[in-house]
Protein backbone atom coordinates (compact mmCIF):
# COMPACT_ATOMS: atom_id res chain seq x y z
CA UNK A 1 0.00 0.00 0.00
CA UNK A 2 1.42 3.34 -1.03
CA UNK A 3 1.31 6.34 1.26
CA UNK A 4 -1.89 8.31 1.21
CA UNK A 5 -1.81 11.83 -0.10
CA UNK A 6 -2.54 14.12 2.86
CA UNK A 7 -5.51 16.43 2.49
CA UNK A 8 -7.76 13.97 0.70
CA UNK A 9 -10.48 11.91 2.32
CA UNK A 10 -10.12 8.22 1.51
CA UNK A 11 -10.98 7.78 -2.21
CA UNK A 12 -11.41 11.54 -2.74
CA UNK A 13 -15.16 11.86 -1.99
CA UNK A 14 -16.38 12.87 1.46
CA UNK A 15 -18.14 10.24 3.55
CA UNK A 16 -21.62 11.75 3.16
CA UNK A 17 -21.33 11.69 -0.62
CA UNK A 18 -20.15 8.10 -0.56
CA UNK A 19 -23.12 7.13 1.58
CA UNK A 20 -25.46 8.85 -0.85
CA UNK A 21 -23.90 6.96 -3.76
CA UNK A 22 -24.02 3.67 -1.87
CA UNK A 23 -27.72 4.16 -1.23
CA UNK A 24 -28.24 4.65 -4.97
CA UNK A 25 -26.16 1.53 -5.67
CA UNK A 26 -28.22 -0.54 -3.21
CA UNK A 27 -31.41 0.58 -4.90
CA UNK A 28 -29.93 -0.18 -8.31
CA UNK A 29 -28.95 -3.69 -7.20
CA UNK A 30 -32.42 -4.23 -5.79
CA UNK A 31 -34.05 -3.32 -9.14
CA UNK A 32 -31.74 -4.79 -11.81
CA UNK A 33 -31.43 -2.55 -14.87
CA UNK A 34 -33.38 0.34 -13.39
CA UNK A 35 -31.70 3.75 -13.67
CA UNK A 36 -31.45 5.28 -10.22
CA UNK A 37 -30.92 9.06 -10.14
CA UNK A 38 -28.16 10.25 -7.84
CA UNK A 39 -26.60 13.58 -6.93
CA UNK A 40 -23.54 13.27 -9.16
CA UNK A 41 -20.63 15.42 -7.98
CA UNK A 42 -18.12 17.48 -9.87
CA UNK A 43 -14.99 15.39 -10.20
CA UNK A 44 -11.47 16.64 -10.90
CA UNK A 45 -11.73 15.47 -14.51
CA UNK A 46 -13.99 16.41 -17.41
CA UNK A 47 -17.30 14.73 -18.17
CA UNK A 48 -16.74 11.96 -20.63
CA UNK A 49 -13.63 10.79 -18.78
CA UNK A 50 -15.52 8.47 -16.54
CA UNK A 51 -16.80 10.71 -13.76
CA UNK A 52 -19.73 8.36 -13.16
CA UNK A 53 -17.56 5.26 -12.94
CA UNK A 54 -15.03 7.04 -10.72
CA UNK A 55 -17.75 8.06 -8.25
CA UNK A 56 -19.10 4.52 -8.09
CA UNK A 57 -15.59 3.12 -7.61
CA UNK A 58 -14.85 5.70 -4.92
CA UNK A 59 -18.03 4.76 -3.08
CA UNK A 60 -17.36 1.02 -3.03
CA UNK A 61 -13.59 0.99 -2.60
CA UNK A 62 -12.19 -0.30 0.69
CA UNK A 63 -8.60 -0.29 1.93
CA UNK A 64 -8.13 -3.96 1.12
CA UNK A 65 -9.36 -3.73 -2.44
CA UNK A 66 -7.19 -4.33 -5.47
CA UNK A 67 -8.09 -2.03 -8.35
CA UNK A 68 -7.73 -2.61 -12.07
CA UNK A 69 -8.68 0.10 -14.58
CA UNK A 70 -9.06 -0.54 -18.28
CA UNK A 71 -9.82 1.68 -21.23
CA UNK A 72 -11.00 -0.17 -24.35
CA UNK A 73 -9.52 -3.30 -22.86
CA UNK A 74 -6.14 -1.71 -22.32
CA UNK A 75 -4.44 -1.08 -18.98
CA UNK A 76 -1.97 1.46 -20.28
CA UNK A 77 -3.91 4.12 -22.19
CA UNK A 78 -4.40 7.65 -20.88
CA UNK A 79 -7.81 7.21 -19.32
CA UNK A 80 -6.89 4.00 -17.51
CA UNK A 81 -3.53 5.31 -16.30
CA UNK A 82 -5.04 8.58 -15.04
CA UNK A 83 -7.84 6.93 -13.10
CA UNK A 84 -5.50 4.31 -11.65
CA UNK A 85 -3.13 7.06 -10.48
CA UNK A 86 -6.06 9.03 -9.11
CA UNK A 87 -7.02 6.19 -6.78
CA UNK A 88 -3.40 5.36 -5.92
CA UNK A 89 -3.06 8.94 -4.77
CA UNK A 90 -6.39 9.46 -3.01
CA UNK A 91 -7.13 5.97 -1.66
CA UNK A 92 -3.71 4.37 -1.55
CA UNK A 93 -5.16 1.04 -2.66
CA UNK A 94 -3.15 -1.58 -4.44
CA UNK A 95 -3.57 -1.57 -8.20
CA UNK A 96 -3.01 -4.34 -10.68
CA UNK A 97 -3.37 -5.15 -14.34
CA UNK A 98 -4.20 -8.79 -13.68
CA UNK A 99 -7.91 -9.44 -14.02
CA UNK A 100 -7.90 -12.43 -11.69
CA UNK A 101 -6.20 -10.50 -8.86
CA UNK A 102 -8.46 -7.43 -8.98
CA UNK A 103 -11.44 -7.09 -6.65
CA UNK A 104 -12.74 -3.93 -8.33
CA UNK A 105 -12.36 -3.37 -12.08
CA UNK A 106 -13.33 -0.04 -13.53
CA UNK A 107 -13.82 -0.26 -17.26
CA UNK A 108 -14.47 1.93 -20.21
CA UNK A 109 -16.20 -0.20 -22.82
CA UNK A 110 -14.79 -3.69 -22.38
CA UNK A 111 -15.25 -6.71 -20.18
CA UNK A 112 -11.96 -8.57 -19.61
CA UNK A 113 -11.48 -11.84 -21.53
CA UNK A 114 -10.60 -13.70 -18.34
CA UNK A 115 -13.93 -14.72 -16.88
CA UNK A 116 -14.95 -12.71 -13.82
CA UNK A 117 -15.42 -14.50 -10.52
CA UNK A 118 -17.68 -14.26 -7.52
CA UNK A 119 -16.60 -11.46 -5.24
CA UNK A 120 -15.35 -9.27 -8.06
CA UNK A 121 -17.09 -6.03 -9.00
CA UNK A 122 -16.92 -4.43 -12.42
CA UNK A 123 -17.73 -0.72 -12.72
CA UNK A 124 -18.69 0.62 -16.15
CA UNK A 125 -18.32 4.22 -17.24
CA UNK A 126 -21.52 5.22 -18.99
CA UNK A 127 -21.93 8.26 -21.25
CA UNK A 128 -25.68 8.01 -21.96
CA UNK A 129 -27.62 5.60 -19.74
CA UNK A 130 -30.95 5.81 -21.55
CA UNK A 131 -31.15 3.23 -24.37
CA UNK A 132 -34.24 4.93 -25.82
CA UNK A 133 -32.74 8.42 -25.83
CA UNK A 134 -31.99 8.72 -29.53
CA UNK A 135 -35.45 7.45 -30.40
CA UNK A 136 -37.41 9.42 -27.83
CA UNK A 137 -35.84 12.67 -26.64
CA UNK A 138 -38.33 13.38 -23.82
CA UNK A 139 -37.17 12.12 -20.41
CA UNK A 140 -40.76 12.14 -19.09
CA UNK A 141 -41.79 9.88 -21.96
CA UNK A 142 -38.88 7.43 -21.62
CA UNK A 143 -39.58 7.11 -17.89
CA UNK A 144 -43.21 6.28 -18.65
CA UNK A 145 -42.06 3.75 -21.22
CA UNK A 146 -39.79 2.06 -18.67
CA UNK A 147 -42.56 2.19 -16.07
CA UNK A 148 -45.07 0.52 -18.39
CA UNK A 149 -42.49 -1.76 -20.05
CA UNK A 150 -43.25 -0.30 -23.50
CA UNK A 151 -40.15 -1.30 -25.38
CA UNK A 152 -41.45 -1.70 -28.94
CA UNK A 153 -39.54 1.40 -29.96
CA UNK A 154 -36.19 -0.28 -29.37
CA UNK A 155 -37.10 -2.82 -32.01
CA UNK A 156 -37.85 0.03 -34.41
CA UNK A 157 -34.15 0.85 -34.16
CA UNK A 158 -33.16 -2.76 -34.85
CA UNK A 159 -35.69 -2.88 -37.73
CA UNK A 160 -34.04 0.20 -39.23
CA UNK A 161 -30.66 -1.52 -38.98
CA UNK A 162 -31.86 -4.56 -40.90
CA UNK A 163 -33.75 -2.46 -43.47
CA UNK A 164 -30.64 -0.34 -44.11
CA UNK A 165 -27.80 -2.84 -43.75
CA UNK A 166 -29.43 -6.24 -44.16
CA UNK A 167 -28.46 -7.26 -40.63
CA UNK A 168 -28.50 -5.72 -37.16
CA UNK A 169 -25.61 -3.30 -37.57
CA UNK A 170 -25.53 -2.07 -33.97
CA UNK A 171 -22.14 -3.28 -32.78
CA UNK A 172 -21.78 -1.48 -29.47
CA UNK A 173 -24.23 -0.22 -26.81
CA UNK A 174 -26.37 -3.11 -27.97
CA UNK A 175 -29.62 -2.99 -25.96
CA UNK A 176 -30.31 -5.76 -23.45
CA UNK A 177 -33.22 -6.74 -21.24
CA UNK A 178 -32.22 -7.34 -17.63
CA UNK A 179 -33.97 -9.91 -15.47
CA UNK A 180 -36.89 -10.02 -17.93
CA UNK A 181 -37.95 -6.50 -17.05
CA UNK A 182 -35.84 -3.41 -17.69
CA UNK A 183 -34.36 -2.40 -21.01
CA UNK A 184 -30.75 -1.39 -20.43
CA UNK A 185 -27.88 0.18 -22.32
CA UNK A 186 -24.80 -1.91 -21.48
CA UNK A 187 -22.70 1.27 -22.00
CA UNK A 188 -20.74 1.38 -25.25
CA UNK A 189 -19.17 -2.05 -24.81
CA UNK A 190 -18.93 -4.01 -28.05
CA UNK A 191 -21.83 -6.43 -28.40
CA UNK A 192 -19.15 -9.13 -28.29
CA UNK A 193 -19.19 -8.66 -24.52
CA UNK A 194 -22.98 -8.85 -24.10
CA UNK A 195 -23.05 -12.63 -23.48
CA UNK A 196 -20.49 -12.16 -20.68
CA UNK A 197 -23.03 -10.04 -18.79
CA UNK A 198 -25.55 -12.85 -18.72
CA UNK A 199 -25.48 -14.83 -15.45
CA UNK A 200 -22.13 -13.30 -14.56
CA UNK A 201 -20.91 -14.27 -11.08
CA UNK A 202 -19.52 -10.74 -10.60
CA UNK A 203 -21.48 -7.68 -9.51
CA UNK A 204 -21.83 -5.19 -12.38
CA UNK A 205 -22.32 -1.49 -11.59
CA UNK A 206 -22.87 1.31 -14.10
CA UNK A 207 -22.25 4.98 -13.37
CA UNK A 208 -23.16 7.95 -15.58
CA UNK A 209 -21.76 11.16 -14.10
CA UNK A 210 -23.11 13.78 -16.46
CA UNK A 211 -26.55 12.14 -16.68
CA UNK A 212 -26.56 11.47 -12.92
CA UNK A 213 -27.70 7.86 -13.09
CA UNK A 214 -26.53 4.60 -11.52
CA UNK A 215 -27.76 1.15 -12.53
CA UNK A 216 -26.67 -2.39 -11.79
CA UNK A 217 -26.79 -6.06 -12.65
CA UNK A 218 -26.50 -8.24 -9.54
CA UNK A 219 -24.55 -11.51 -9.82
CA UNK A 220 -26.31 -14.37 -11.64
CA UNK A 221 -28.92 -12.19 -13.34
CA UNK A 222 -30.38 -12.98 -16.74
CA UNK A 223 -29.29 -10.49 -19.42
CA UNK A 224 -30.78 -11.00 -22.88
CA UNK A 225 -29.74 -9.10 -26.00
CA UNK A 226 -32.74 -7.93 -28.05
CA UNK A 227 -33.22 -9.37 -31.52
CA UNK A 228 -35.77 -10.57 -34.06
CA UNK A 229 -36.84 -14.19 -34.40
CA UNK A 230 -35.55 -14.30 -37.98
CA UNK A 231 -32.48 -12.13 -37.23
CA UNK A 232 -31.10 -13.55 -33.99
CA UNK A 233 -28.43 -11.81 -31.93
CA UNK A 234 -24.88 -12.62 -33.02
CA UNK A 235 -21.52 -11.55 -31.64
CA UNK A 236 -18.77 -10.11 -33.82
CA UNK A 237 -16.59 -12.73 -35.44
CA UNK A 238 -12.98 -12.36 -36.49
CA UNK A 239 -11.35 -14.17 -39.43
CA UNK A 240 -7.91 -14.42 -37.84
CA UNK A 241 -6.54 -15.03 -34.36
CA UNK A 242 -4.63 -12.30 -32.49
CA UNK A 243 -1.44 -11.43 -34.39
CA UNK A 244 0.62 -11.37 -31.20
CA UNK A 245 -0.70 -14.18 -29.00
CA UNK A 246 -2.73 -16.28 -31.48
CA UNK A 247 -5.82 -16.16 -29.22
CA UNK A 248 -9.11 -17.08 -30.88
CA UNK A 249 -12.61 -16.19 -29.80
CA UNK A 250 -11.50 -12.91 -28.25
CA UNK A 251 -12.25 -9.31 -29.20
CA UNK A 252 -9.59 -7.88 -31.52
CA UNK A 253 -8.54 -4.30 -32.23
CA UNK A 254 -7.45 -3.28 -35.69
CA UNK A 255 -4.05 -1.57 -35.77
CA UNK A 256 -3.06 0.32 -38.91
CA UNK A 257 0.62 -0.30 -39.64
CA UNK A 258 1.41 1.93 -42.62
CA UNK A 259 -0.28 3.97 -45.31
CA UNK A 260 -0.25 1.09 -47.79
CA UNK A 261 -3.09 -0.92 -46.31
CA UNK A 262 -0.97 -2.84 -43.80
CA UNK A 263 -2.85 -3.77 -40.65
CA UNK A 264 -2.87 -6.23 -37.82
CA UNK A 265 -5.51 -7.48 -35.44
CA UNK A 266 -4.51 -7.79 -31.81
CA UNK A 267 -6.28 -8.55 -28.54
CA UNK A 268 -8.05 -5.50 -27.15
CA UNK A 269 -7.49 -6.96 -23.66
CA UNK A 270 -3.77 -6.20 -23.19
CA UNK A 271 -3.45 -8.10 -19.92
CA UNK A 272 -4.90 -11.23 -21.50
CA UNK A 273 -2.58 -10.91 -24.49
CA UNK A 274 0.53 -10.40 -22.33
CA UNK A 275 -0.35 -13.33 -20.10
CA UNK A 276 -0.71 -15.59 -23.11
CA UNK A 277 2.58 -14.44 -24.60
CA UNK A 278 4.29 -15.08 -21.27
CA UNK A 279 2.85 -18.59 -21.41
CA UNK A 280 4.57 -19.02 -24.75
CA UNK A 281 1.75 -18.49 -27.24
CA UNK A 282 3.07 -16.79 -30.36
CA UNK A 283 1.05 -14.97 -33.00
CA UNK A 284 2.25 -14.71 -36.58
CA UNK A 285 3.43 -11.09 -36.24
CA UNK A 286 5.11 -11.36 -32.85
CA UNK A 287 8.74 -10.35 -33.15
CA UNK A 288 11.72 -10.38 -30.78
CA UNK A 289 12.60 -7.19 -28.97
CA UNK A 290 16.23 -6.02 -29.40
CA UNK A 291 18.47 -7.03 -26.54
CA UNK A 292 18.84 -3.49 -25.13
CA UNK A 293 15.07 -3.26 -24.51
CA UNK A 294 14.27 -4.44 -21.01
CA UNK A 295 11.79 -7.31 -21.15
CA UNK A 296 10.40 -6.54 -17.72
CA UNK A 297 8.56 -3.23 -17.42
CA UNK A 298 9.83 -1.21 -14.46
CA UNK A 299 7.41 -1.44 -11.57
Amino acid sequence: MTTLHPGYNFAYLDEQTKRMIRRAILKAVAIPGYQVPFASREMPMPYGWGTGGVQVTAAILGEGDVLKVIDQGSDDTTNAVSIRKFFEKTAGVETTTETARATVIQTRHRIPETALQEGQTIVYQVPIPEPLRFLEPRETETRTMHGLEEYGLMHVKLYEDIATHGHIATTYAYPVKVNGRYLMDPSPTPKFDNPKMDMSPALQLFGAGREKRIYAIPPYTKVVSLDFEDHPFEVNKFDKPCALCAAEGVYLDEVILDDAGGRMFVCSDTDYCETRRAEGHRGEMLGEAPAFVSREPAE
Binding site: E150, L153, V156, Y159, T164, D230
Partner: protein, 262 residues
Protein backbone atom coordinates in the same frame (compact mmCIF):
# COMPACT_ATOMS: atom_id res chain seq x y z
CA UNK B 1 -72.34 -5.58 -43.06
CA UNK B 2 -72.15 -7.43 -39.79
CA UNK B 3 -70.41 -4.60 -37.93
CA UNK B 4 -73.41 -2.35 -38.47
CA UNK B 5 -75.80 -4.88 -37.02
CA UNK B 6 -74.03 -4.72 -33.67
CA UNK B 7 -76.74 -3.32 -31.50
CA UNK B 8 -74.54 -1.90 -28.76
CA UNK B 9 -72.77 1.42 -29.28
CA UNK B 10 -68.97 1.30 -29.56
CA UNK B 11 -68.54 4.65 -27.87
CA UNK B 12 -70.98 6.42 -25.56
CA UNK B 13 -70.31 10.02 -24.66
CA UNK B 14 -72.32 11.33 -21.76
CA UNK B 15 -72.62 15.08 -21.03
CA UNK B 16 -68.95 15.66 -21.60
CA UNK B 17 -67.59 19.06 -20.64
CA UNK B 18 -64.27 20.81 -20.31
CA UNK B 19 -63.63 24.22 -18.80
CA UNK B 20 -60.40 26.12 -19.14
CA UNK B 21 -60.69 28.12 -15.93
CA UNK B 22 -63.80 30.20 -16.37
CA UNK B 23 -63.83 29.69 -20.13
CA UNK B 24 -65.79 26.90 -21.71
CA UNK B 25 -63.92 24.49 -23.97
CA UNK B 26 -66.98 22.42 -24.63
CA UNK B 27 -70.10 21.63 -22.65
CA UNK B 28 -72.81 18.99 -22.46
CA UNK B 29 -71.71 16.91 -25.41
CA UNK B 30 -73.55 13.59 -25.62
CA UNK B 31 -73.66 11.12 -28.47
CA UNK B 32 -73.33 7.46 -29.31
CA UNK B 33 -71.14 6.01 -32.00
CA UNK B 34 -71.78 2.57 -33.44
CA UNK B 35 -69.34 0.25 -35.15
CA UNK B 36 -68.75 1.19 -38.77
CA UNK B 37 -70.16 4.67 -38.34
CA UNK B 38 -68.44 7.88 -39.43
CA UNK B 39 -69.24 10.98 -37.45
CA UNK B 40 -68.12 14.42 -38.59
CA UNK B 41 -67.73 17.25 -36.11
CA UNK B 42 -67.90 20.62 -37.87
CA UNK B 43 -67.79 24.19 -36.70
CA UNK B 44 -65.70 27.30 -36.99
CA UNK B 45 -62.39 27.90 -35.24
CA UNK B 46 -62.88 28.13 -31.49
CA UNK B 47 -66.13 26.19 -31.52
CA UNK B 48 -64.68 23.51 -29.27
CA UNK B 49 -64.24 20.73 -31.79
CA UNK B 50 -60.53 20.25 -31.14
CA UNK B 51 -61.14 20.25 -27.39
CA UNK B 52 -63.77 17.59 -27.94
CA UNK B 53 -61.40 15.46 -29.98
CA UNK B 54 -58.67 15.78 -27.34
CA UNK B 55 -61.15 14.68 -24.69
CA UNK B 56 -62.39 11.74 -26.72
CA UNK B 57 -58.86 10.54 -27.37
CA UNK B 58 -58.07 10.94 -23.64
CA UNK B 59 -55.37 13.51 -24.20
CA UNK B 60 -57.31 15.91 -21.99
CA UNK B 61 -59.12 15.19 -18.73
CA UNK B 62 -62.78 16.34 -18.81
CA UNK B 63 -64.24 18.51 -16.06
CA UNK B 64 -67.63 16.83 -16.42
CA UNK B 65 -69.20 13.78 -17.99
CA UNK B 66 -67.96 10.36 -19.01
CA UNK B 67 -66.86 8.37 -22.05
CA UNK B 68 -67.61 4.66 -22.20
CA UNK B 69 -65.99 2.37 -24.73
CA UNK B 70 -66.86 -1.18 -25.63
CA UNK B 71 -63.52 -3.04 -25.56
CA UNK B 72 -62.58 -5.87 -27.87
CA UNK B 73 -63.58 -8.39 -25.22
CA UNK B 74 -67.07 -6.88 -25.13
CA UNK B 75 -66.80 -5.23 -21.72
CA UNK B 76 -67.83 -1.58 -21.48
CA UNK B 77 -65.27 0.59 -19.67
CA UNK B 78 -65.07 4.24 -18.71
CA UNK B 79 -61.94 5.34 -20.56
CA UNK B 80 -60.89 7.73 -17.82
CA UNK B 81 -60.96 4.92 -15.29
CA UNK B 82 -58.57 2.77 -17.29
CA UNK B 83 -55.05 2.60 -15.93
CA UNK B 84 -52.42 4.56 -17.83
CA UNK B 85 -51.01 1.29 -19.20
CA UNK B 86 -54.42 0.13 -20.44
CA UNK B 87 -55.17 3.49 -22.01
CA UNK B 88 -51.85 3.63 -23.82
CA UNK B 89 -52.36 0.07 -25.01
CA UNK B 90 -55.80 1.01 -26.32
CA UNK B 91 -54.34 4.03 -28.10
CA UNK B 92 -51.88 1.94 -30.05
CA UNK B 93 -54.03 -1.09 -30.80
CA UNK B 94 -57.76 -0.51 -30.96
CA UNK B 95 -57.64 3.23 -31.62
CA UNK B 96 -55.90 5.41 -34.16
CA UNK B 97 -55.25 9.12 -34.34
CA UNK B 98 -54.58 10.91 -37.62
CA UNK B 99 -53.11 14.34 -37.01
CA UNK B 100 -53.53 17.30 -39.31
CA UNK B 101 -49.76 17.73 -39.38
CA UNK B 102 -48.32 14.37 -40.38
CA UNK B 103 -45.02 15.24 -38.68
CA UNK B 104 -46.84 14.99 -35.32
CA UNK B 105 -48.11 11.52 -36.03
CA UNK B 106 -45.03 10.06 -37.70
CA UNK B 107 -41.44 9.46 -36.67
CA UNK B 108 -39.81 11.62 -39.27
CA UNK B 109 -36.32 10.22 -38.76
CA UNK B 110 -37.10 6.54 -39.32
CA UNK B 111 -38.12 4.82 -42.55
CA UNK B 112 -41.68 4.44 -43.81
CA UNK B 113 -41.53 0.71 -43.13
CA UNK B 114 -40.51 1.22 -39.51
CA UNK B 115 -43.24 3.83 -39.11
CA UNK B 116 -45.84 1.30 -40.19
CA UNK B 117 -44.21 -1.52 -38.23
CA UNK B 118 -43.84 0.36 -34.95
CA UNK B 119 -47.30 -0.52 -33.65
CA UNK B 120 -46.75 -4.18 -34.50
CA UNK B 121 -43.46 -4.20 -32.62
CA UNK B 122 -45.14 -2.36 -29.73
CA UNK B 123 -47.64 -5.20 -29.33
CA UNK B 124 -44.88 -7.79 -29.37
CA UNK B 125 -44.28 -8.79 -33.00
CA UNK B 126 -40.65 -9.94 -33.12
CA UNK B 127 -40.43 -11.39 -36.62
CA UNK B 128 -38.71 -9.02 -39.03
CA UNK B 129 -40.05 -10.76 -42.14
CA UNK B 130 -43.66 -10.57 -40.96
CA UNK B 131 -43.35 -6.93 -39.95
CA UNK B 132 -41.81 -6.06 -43.29
CA UNK B 133 -44.52 -7.95 -45.12
CA UNK B 134 -47.28 -6.14 -43.21
CA UNK B 135 -45.60 -2.79 -43.89
CA UNK B 136 -45.39 -3.52 -47.62
CA UNK B 137 -49.01 -4.61 -47.67
CA UNK B 138 -50.16 -1.43 -45.95
CA UNK B 139 -48.02 0.87 -48.07
CA UNK B 140 -49.69 -0.72 -51.09
CA UNK B 141 -53.12 -0.15 -49.66
CA UNK B 142 -52.44 3.55 -49.19
CA UNK B 143 -50.91 3.78 -52.67
CA UNK B 144 -47.28 4.32 -51.69
CA UNK B 145 -44.83 2.57 -54.02
CA UNK B 146 -43.09 -0.44 -52.47
CA UNK B 147 -39.63 0.95 -53.30
CA UNK B 148 -40.21 3.87 -50.91
CA UNK B 149 -40.40 1.54 -47.88
CA UNK B 150 -36.88 2.38 -46.72
CA UNK B 151 -37.17 6.13 -47.27
CA UNK B 152 -37.77 8.47 -44.35
CA UNK B 153 -41.05 10.40 -44.48
CA UNK B 154 -38.96 13.59 -44.62
CA UNK B 155 -38.53 12.87 -48.31
CA UNK B 156 -42.29 12.39 -48.84
CA UNK B 157 -44.78 14.93 -50.18
CA UNK B 158 -47.54 16.21 -47.91
CA UNK B 159 -50.13 13.84 -49.37
CA UNK B 160 -47.82 10.83 -49.07
CA UNK B 161 -47.02 11.66 -45.46
CA UNK B 162 -50.72 11.80 -44.69
CA UNK B 163 -51.30 8.43 -46.37
CA UNK B 164 -48.34 6.96 -44.49
CA UNK B 165 -49.81 8.23 -41.24
CA UNK B 166 -53.06 6.49 -42.07
CA UNK B 167 -51.27 3.21 -42.82
CA UNK B 168 -49.33 3.50 -39.55
CA UNK B 169 -52.58 3.83 -37.65
CA UNK B 170 -54.50 1.10 -39.42
CA UNK B 171 -51.87 -1.65 -39.27
CA UNK B 172 -53.19 -3.03 -35.96
CA UNK B 173 -56.78 -3.10 -37.29
CA UNK B 174 -58.16 -0.50 -34.93
CA UNK B 175 -61.92 -0.21 -34.54
CA UNK B 176 -62.02 3.52 -33.84
CA UNK B 177 -59.99 6.23 -35.55
CA UNK B 178 -59.89 9.90 -34.65
CA UNK B 179 -59.02 12.30 -37.44
CA UNK B 180 -58.15 15.94 -36.94
CA UNK B 181 -58.51 17.81 -40.24
CA UNK B 182 -56.80 15.01 -42.18
CA UNK B 183 -56.97 16.93 -45.45
CA UNK B 184 -55.93 20.31 -44.03
CA UNK B 185 -52.98 21.91 -45.76
CA UNK B 186 -53.20 19.71 -48.85
CA UNK B 187 -54.02 21.06 -52.28
CA UNK B 188 -57.39 20.25 -53.78
CA UNK B 189 -56.46 17.39 -56.10
CA UNK B 190 -54.39 15.68 -53.40
CA UNK B 191 -57.30 16.16 -51.00
CA UNK B 192 -59.67 14.50 -53.42
CA UNK B 193 -57.38 11.49 -53.79
CA UNK B 194 -56.91 11.18 -50.04
CA UNK B 195 -60.66 11.41 -49.44
CA UNK B 196 -61.26 8.71 -52.03
CA UNK B 197 -58.73 6.47 -50.34
CA UNK B 198 -60.14 7.13 -46.87
CA UNK B 199 -63.67 6.44 -48.05
CA UNK B 200 -62.58 3.11 -49.50
CA UNK B 201 -60.64 2.06 -46.40
CA UNK B 202 -63.39 3.06 -43.98
CA UNK B 203 -65.97 1.08 -45.96
CA UNK B 204 -63.70 -1.97 -46.46
CA UNK B 205 -62.60 -2.21 -42.85
CA UNK B 206 -65.87 -1.19 -41.24
CA UNK B 207 -64.02 1.45 -39.22
CA UNK B 208 -65.71 3.82 -36.83
CA UNK B 209 -64.36 7.30 -37.38
CA UNK B 210 -64.73 10.60 -35.61
CA UNK B 211 -63.48 13.26 -37.96
CA UNK B 212 -63.06 16.91 -37.01
CA UNK B 213 -63.13 19.28 -39.93
CA UNK B 214 -64.14 22.77 -40.90
CA UNK B 215 -64.51 21.63 -44.50
CA UNK B 216 -68.13 20.72 -45.13
CA UNK B 217 -67.18 18.95 -48.37
CA UNK B 218 -65.04 16.50 -46.37
CA UNK B 219 -67.92 15.89 -44.01
CA UNK B 220 -70.29 15.38 -46.93
CA UNK B 221 -68.02 12.85 -48.64
CA UNK B 222 -66.94 10.79 -45.64
CA UNK B 223 -69.47 10.92 -42.86
CA UNK B 224 -72.78 9.30 -42.15
CA UNK B 225 -73.70 11.63 -39.35
CA UNK B 226 -72.72 15.18 -38.53
CA UNK B 227 -72.51 17.27 -35.39
CA UNK B 228 -72.40 21.06 -35.68
CA UNK B 229 -70.66 22.85 -32.82
CA UNK B 230 -70.71 26.47 -31.81
CA UNK B 231 -69.30 28.13 -28.71
CA UNK B 232 -68.54 24.78 -27.11
CA UNK B 233 -72.00 23.28 -27.57
CA UNK B 234 -73.53 20.93 -30.09
CA UNK B 235 -76.23 22.96 -31.78
CA UNK B 236 -77.39 20.56 -34.44
CA UNK B 237 -76.93 16.89 -35.15
CA UNK B 238 -78.34 14.48 -37.71
CA UNK B 239 -77.67 12.57 -40.90
CA UNK B 240 -75.03 14.37 -42.93
CA UNK B 241 -77.08 14.83 -46.09
CA UNK B 242 -80.09 15.93 -44.12
CA UNK B 243 -78.22 18.54 -42.11
CA UNK B 244 -76.29 19.90 -45.06
CA UNK B 245 -79.25 19.95 -47.46
CA UNK B 246 -81.81 21.20 -45.01
CA UNK B 247 -80.13 22.91 -42.05
CA UNK B 248 -82.45 23.78 -39.24
CA UNK B 249 -80.40 26.11 -37.05
CA UNK B 250 -79.67 29.63 -38.31
CA UNK B 251 -75.96 29.14 -37.62
CA UNK B 252 -75.85 25.91 -39.64
CA UNK B 253 -77.67 27.68 -42.44
CA UNK B 254 -75.04 30.38 -42.36
CA UNK B 255 -72.25 27.80 -42.34
CA UNK B 256 -73.70 25.88 -45.29
CA UNK B 257 -74.43 29.01 -47.30
CA UNK B 258 -70.95 30.41 -46.75
CA UNK B 259 -69.38 27.59 -48.76
CA UNK B 260 -68.26 28.92 -52.13
CA UNK B 261 -70.03 27.32 -55.05
CA UNK B 262 -67.79 26.96 -58.04
Amino acid sequence: MSALTDDLPLLTVDRLGKNYGSRIGCRDVSFELYAGEVLAVVGESGSGKSTLLSLLSTQLQPTAGAIRYRMRDGSVRDVFELSQAERRFLMRTDWGFVHQDAAQGLRMAVSAGANVGERLMAVGDRHYGNIRHAALDWLGRVEIEADRIDDAPRSFSGGMRQRLQIARNLVTNPRLVFMDEPTGGLDVSVQARLLDLLRGLVADLGLSVIIVTHDLAVARLLSHRIMVMRQGRVIETGLTDQVLDDPREPYTQLLVSSVLQV
